[in-house]
């Protein structure tokens, strides 16, 4: 699943570690989500959407 997490994070000037702290997950998790190696659970996707004040489908794009 593609996402624009990296772009949203860059816009705010946050590091992966800072975003991880805000979402209460590890830096490795942020790295894996950004690179598309890991799709977050629905609760984490909602948390990300709330943090960036966007809808889930605006951040994550289903490739199927």
């Amino acid at each position: 699943m593609k996402n624009k997490l990296k772009m949203l994070r860059a816009e705010r000037g946050w590091s992966q570690a800072v975003l991880g702290e805000k979402l209460e997950v590890s830096r490795q998790s942020i790295n894996a989500i950004e690179s598309g190696r890991y799709d977050p659970s629905l609760p984490l996707a909602f948390k990300i959407a709330r943090l960036f004040e966007q809808a889930i489908e605006d951040i994550f794009k289903d490739e199927s």
Partner: protein, 151 residues
Amino acid sequence: MTEKQAIHRYYKMALPAMGLYIISIATAVWARDGMITSQSVFNFWSQGNMGLAKAVYYALAVIPIIAIGGMAWAHWRFITELDEYMRMIQIKALLIGLLCMLAMATGWGMVEMLLRLPALPIFWLVPIFWLGFSISLGFIRAKEKGFGHEE
């Protein structure tokens, strides 16, 4: 809870449990040999006190089970304290460790039966499992590191 805190809590529980496991296995082997030879304080068997000997055997068999319970509880708690991605990595490594243990048990069992090799004591399955788990976790983490990170 941060990953560092979770790791600290894990080692605080898992290391004494691992120590207890190793000591209990070593004690059981020593006691078994002691019960057979006549020079030991555990010489109940040759003294004809079979009831006491059996009671000691059962007690020695229970201690490693308690130690494994401690290790399992420490790991279970550790996994629940991690975030979902790190938990997935742990579960992958645990599954590979389990598969290593099953493959080793099956392979050695077949070799034992067909080639009449000495029996491998079944309590070795626990160290084999943890070894398989540790190696696979190392590989998974190295792979993850290979992807690097951006600030």
